[in-house]
Symmetry: none
Subunit: 207 residues, 4 copies
DNA sequence: TATGAATGAGTGTTCATTCAT
DNA sequence: GATGAATGAACACTCATTCAT
């Protein structure tokens, strides 16, 4: 799933390509993936119908380009290094809050992604692969805590990481994509507490 | 979303309607909701194209009929009454195992349901509504345990029930619908332990 | 276009057939010929779908039966013999008023007939044939008046009869079938005056 | 009922659109509105099936475009200004002849229009509206003649205009659309004489 | 690069009519 | 006579993609 077809060389090309991605995001978020028409995208971008294909191979590709652009914003790696925090409870708390916050911010697109993943094989694979990386990291963290005697050592680290991540992302989906009413703060607090309890972490050090 | 259009009045009609539902399930599971053609369903049922419409209003309706039939099998209410078990840890364990088992058994259909829920407003609503009932029941249970001093009283019962259910159903989806490799027994054990930890239940009474 | 298929022998048959015609008229008038469904007719008559075909060969036939029934009411022949009136002006006046009155009374059906005549070859022919009889009679009357020196002898009797009949029936259609607002009395008066003028009849004898 | 969907921007587009209208007229006149298939139209125009929808929203719209094109030819307004004739008898004579002539010339299409008006609400309204303009003009003329003492002042001008127009258009329909045999010249003469008599016009000035 | 016209495959649904009970 | 289930032909319309200017 290469995102680019033609890398625009001219300034005009760069402008057009950017306009198309912006327009595509609008249209996709407004109409959903299946109901979005390529012609609406070109219309919204102010170009002719055929011009979309100058930059993207098709619907799937332009959607991928939209997603790509957003993914960058949503990656918050190396929380520990960034913040210097080491207390696992507070790290988890921070990570979950960052996740919920950016999910909320891009809720429409996340809903879209969920939709497309159900319809398009490639995106389903892409998503699995992305979350796999995330889960592996968490599993490593859990194993570390277990070895340090700080977490319930009877838990399978991989499955636990998977399950707790699934819990958080699914709740984010319900709250923000499906707009099931849930106060943000209470949601965050509850999820964090559930993580901490589930892992049997010791209470956070007094800050 | 009424499921029936015509209720068959003759033995032949009952047979035909049943054949259609069976055929529809096969075709939907084979091709997915969007790619399934009504003509394939009638073909598989051995009836004329138009005959599907004798009993169902359209694609959506016959899919609903398929789902309906499966939902009945999947409902396992009143576990406590059925089994006489009262220990919360064992009740949770049993409920989760039953859920995972029947999810696995109907994995293709559950995947389908997930797909359709992303595409069809009505089914999305239907699913939310169904899980709401389930969650309410769990929330009540949690509140009961909190009041008895048997569970972490700092947790929001509603959100907790929601989150833990989401965790289980999402893992079932990943394991059985998406066929991510996970040993059944370890999955069940881990999820149960996570529930127990999350709620801070006392260890199960020795049986 | 034979109207009957089976002449019912049993009392029950007679009842069913009559119920079907009544139901058919309702449905046709409500939905129009093209949009009326045979199943709606059987439903309205309280019989099974197939039963319509016990008495009628199809949609066309049952419509013919409905029309037939109404045509009987609408025939007002032998006005002169019935009333004893001989003054042509008063005869024309009476004939036109009777026509307008019964058109108004059966307006929905007349509209229907107009519709079906546009769609079905057979009904178009039927209508032409029926009006031909009527026009011939009028032409004969006109010729009589011309020979008696009572009407403009430069007029072609056939075409005149045709044209004046067309004028009246078309106005009836506009007023009653299409419900273009027109006061009944003024319409009748105007049409009669136009007939009289057109034929150059002497003023009516003082009554 | 806007006629255009896309206005062609290229020469090729203009050609295609025109070819479609020509083809549509052929097909409609050959098969009637209801039996005409969109695929036959595209076939006759030598374009792909979908191309009809580049320029027209559907069957109704392309029919409207056909009608539109013909209506232009059929409008003959401002007869008095065009010819300089003022004698009412001769003006009426001319107007009727022009009407009959162009009706005859476009007989198939007029028959079609009659059919569609019975089937499609929008076209029915369109026709009523068009003839309303025509009738209003005639009513004004009649009132003028009455005020000048040149026409029977006991007639209702509106209804008279309506009725006499209806007479002419209905006869044109019978003669040319339904092909009831009638010599053109005698039809024209008779209708004119009926108009003149009906209005009680003085004999035409010797020419 | 951009245009915009042309392509054409693909299918859910209706309903008059038939016919086995 | 009545039933009601089954039939199956028939067709307008959409839209992603291509390609000649």
């Amino acid at each position: 799933m290469p995102v680019e077809r033609t890398i625009p060389r001219s300034a005009r090309g760069i402008r057009t390509r950017a306009a198309l991605i912006t327009a595509a995001r609008e249209v996709f978020e407004r109409d959903g993936y299946l109901d979005a028409r390529m012609s609406d995208i070109s219309l919204a971008a102010g170009v002719a119908a055929g011009s979309v294909y100058t930059y993207f191979d098709g619907k799937e590709e332009i959607f991928a380009a939209v997603v790509d652009q957003v993914q960058e914003e949503m990656l918050h790696p190396r929380l520990r290094e960034r913040t210097g925090i080491t207390d696992p409870r507070r790290l988890i708390d921070l990570a979950n809050r960052e996740y919920l916050r950016s999910y909320k911010k891009n809720a429409r697109l996340m809903a879209l992604l969920e939709q497309v993943a159900q319809v398009d094989e490639n995106f389903r694979a892409l998503r699995l692969q992305r979350s796999a990386a995330f889960i592996t990291r968490n599993a490593r963290m859990i194993r570390g805590l277990q070895e340090a005697g700080l977490a319930d050592s009877s838990l399978d680290p991989e499955l636990t990481a998977h399950a707790l991540s699934a819990m958080v992302s699914r709740m984010a989906y319900l709250a923000f994509a499906l707009e099931q009413p849930m106060p943000f703060e209470r949601l965050a607090t509850t999820l964090n507490q559930l993580w901490a309890n589930a892992l049997q972490l010791a209470p956070a050090a007094a800050s």
